[in-house]
Amino acid sequence: MNLYKIKPWLLILPALLFLILPAYGLWAAFSESIKDGSDVTLTYYHQLFTSERFLSSLWFSLYTSLTATLASMIIGIFITRSFAHFLTDSLPRLSVWLPMLFPHLVFAYVIILIFSETGWLAQMLTMIGVLESPGEFPILTRDNYGIGIILAYIAKEVPFVILMLFPVYNAIPPAYYDVVKTLGGSRMEQFKTVEWPQISTVVMEIFFILFAFTLTAYEVPAILGTNFPEMVSVLSYDWFYSGSWEDRPLAFAAMVTISLLITLMAFIGYMYVNRKRMRALRGRL
C-alpha cells in the first residue's frame, strides 16, 4: 500500500482516536443497560418505555428542544438575510457573535434575572403600573411548558445560526435576486429560488447540531426546568446519582435510547444533505 492510499487514513486518525472516548462511553453505558448480574436482559428498556415519568420526560424534551431549535433557526435566518451586508464589517459581526463566548449557564442565569416572578421585567412592569404586584407576572421560568429553557436556548443559539449561515449568504451573488425580480418573482420567490437551495444543507446541519445539543444538555434545564416533566438529561442525571443502584441502568438505557435516536436522525440527515448539496452545486446527482 503506497502513501497516497494510506494518507487519508493517517489524516483522519486523530479524529478516530478522539472518537474512542465517546464510543467507549456509549458501549459501556449500553453494556450496563442490558446487564443483570451476568445475564443479558432488556428489563431496563422495558421499564423505561413503560415509565410514565420517562415518556413524559421524552416528549417534553423533544418538544422543548424542537421548539428552541426551530425558533433559533427562524430568527437566525431572518437576522442573517436582513443584515448580511452589515455583518461584513467586523464590529457588527463581533457584536452578534459575542454571546457565543459566554457559557449556557450564564444565559440560564440571565433568563432567571429577567423573566423570573421577582425578576427585572416583573419589577419594571409593576413600577410602571402594568402589574399591581410582581406576583401577577406569568411563570416563565421553572414552568411546565419549558418557556425559560426555550428562551435561554434561543438567546444562546441564534448567534451560532448566524455564524453558520453568514458565509453562505455572503457567497450568494446579489445579481441572482435581480434575475428573479426581472422574471417576475416576489420576495418569497427570491428566498425560495435563490437562498433556500444554497442554505438548505447548512440549515439541516444546524438543525441536527442544535437539536442534538438542546435535547441532551444538562445545565440549562437543571436551572430553568421544573420537577415534572423534566428534560431527559435531568432525569438521567437523577437516576444516575440517586441513592438506589437499581436506577443507574435506567439512566444508561435512557441515554443509549437518545443516542440511537440522534444517530439515526443524523444518518438520515447526512444522506439527505449530501444529495441536496450536490443538487445545489451541480444540479445532477
Partner: protein
C-alpha cells in the same frame, strides 16, 4: 403607432455624483439600440433603471402607452440578460426557461419547445447548467428572459464572460434571433465593434448622456464631438474643433496643401491582409494606427493630412464634408 419605449428626461444621481443627466430617447417596436461607452460611465445604471431594478431621481419611462416609471422590476414587462448567465444551478435547462414564464403566467409547453429549438439546445433540455458550456448557458439565459414575453429586451454585456471565439459566434447568432423575432432590444457594451453588430442605432454614452445617438455610418461620417472621435478611433483629433478621417492620412503627399506632421514608427503589424504602422505623432501627442503601403524599418516618417479632409464638428465652420 405607440413607441416601444419612451425615456423622457431621466436623471439619476448618487449624492453629488450625477450618473444620468436629463436623458431622452425612444425606440419603435423592433428597433435595436446599442449603448456603448467606457467602463464606469453609467450604462449599467441606465439599464437597471429601465428594468426597474433602480429608480430614477427624476424623469419618466413609458413602455408602449404605459408609464412604468414607478413600477418595480417584477411588474414591468422587461427582460434582462446579465453579464453572467446566472442560471439556477438546481434546475434543468427546461426548468430554467420555464421559471419566469410560470411566474408571469405566460407558460406553455409549445413556447418552451420553440425557445429550445431557437437556441439550438433541445437535446440539453434535461441537463443542468453545470453540464453546459459558457456560451450554451448564456443562450439559455436569453431564452429564459424571452420566455416571459417582454415588451423590450435589455442585454448587459452578455458576452463579456465568454472567450473571443464564442463571443463572436454568439454576437451573430443573438443578432439574427432578435431580428427574426422582431424583438425591441437595448444592448449595452463597452466594445465598439460589438455595439455596431448588435444595434442599428448606437448611443455613445458618456458623462451622464448620449454624446451621439446615430447609426454606425453617421458616427463614421460625422462624429458629434471630440469624445466620439477619440472613443471610436476612426479619426484623428487635431484639436477640440477639428478632426480628419484616418483613411485620408497618408505617408506620401498626394495633394497640394497637405499638412505635414512628423511621426515616429513604433511598430508594424498585419491586419485584414494589410500592413499597419503604429506611429507616435509628437505634435498631437497621439498614437495612431495607419495602413502602411510600403515596408519601413523604423525611425521617423512624415504623415500627410490633406487640408480638404480636415473637418469641423460645427459643419458651418467646416472646411468640407467627409465622403
Amino acid at each position: 403607432m405607440s413607441k416601444a419605449i419612451e425615456v423622457n428626461n431621466i436623471s439619476k444621481a448618487f449624492g453629488s455624483n450625477v450618473i444620468l443627466d436629463q436623458l431622452n430617447f425612444q425606440l419603435n417596436p423592433g428597433d435595436k439600440l446599442s449603448i456603448v461607452g467606457p467602463s464606469g460611465s453609467g450604462k449599467t445604471t441606465l439599464l437597471r433603471i429601465l428594468a426597474g431594478l433602480d429608480h430614477p431621481s427624476s424623469g419618466t419611462i413609458k413602455l408602449g402607452e404605459k408609464d412604468v416609471t414607478h413600477l418595480d422590476a417584477r411588474t414591468r414587462k422587461v427582460g434582462l440578460v446579465f453579464q453572467q448567465p446566472l442560471l439556477f444551478p438546481h434546475m434543468t435547462v427546461e426548468e430554467n426557461i420555464d421559471y419566469g414564464a410560470r411566474l408571469t403566467g405566460t407558460f406553455s409547453r409549445e413556447k418552451t419547445s420553440d425557445l429550445l429549438t431557437a437556441i439550438n439546445l433541445t437535446e440539453t433540455r434535461t441537463q443542468f447548467p453545470s453540464e453546459l458550456s459558457g456560451g450554451q448557458q448564456q443562450r439559455v439565459a436569453l431564452a429564459r428572459a424571452l420566455a416571459t414575453e417582454p415588451e423590450i429586451l435589455l442585454l448587459d454585456e452578455p458576452f463579456s464572460s465568454l472567450d473571443p471565439g464564442m463571443r463572436q459566434e454568439l454576437r451573430y447568432w443573438v443578432r439574427d434571433l432578435l431580428d427574426e423575432r422582431g424583438i425591441t432590444s437595448i444592448f449595452v457594451t463597452h466594445d465598439r465593434e460589438e455595439a455596431m453588430l448588435m444595434g442599428d442605432t448606437i448611443g455613445v454614452f458618456y458623462n451622464g448622456g448620449f454624446q451621439q445617438l446615430a447609426s454606425a455610418e453617421t458616427i463614421l461620417q460625422s462624429p458629434a464631438n471630440p469624445f466620439v472621435v477619440q472613443f471610436f478611433d476612426n479619426h484623428l483629433l487635431i484639436d477640440q474643433d477639428h478632426y480628419v478621417p484616418l483613411n485620408k492620412i497618408s505617408f506620401s503627399s498626394q495633394a497640394t496643401g497637405a499638412r505635414v506632421m512628423k511621426a515616429v514608427l513604433l511598430q508594424t503589424s498585419v491586419a485584414n491582409g494589410e500592413r499597419v504602422a503604429h506611429v507616435y505623432v509628437e505634435e498631437l501627442d497621439k498614437r495612431l494606427s495607419l495602413r502602411l503601403p510600403f515596408p519601413h524599418d523604423g525611425g521617423s516618417l512624415d504623415i500627410f493630412i490633406p487640408a480638404n479632409h480636415i473637418y469641423s464638428f460645427d459643419s458651418s465652420r467646416g472646411a468640407g464634408r467627409y465622403e
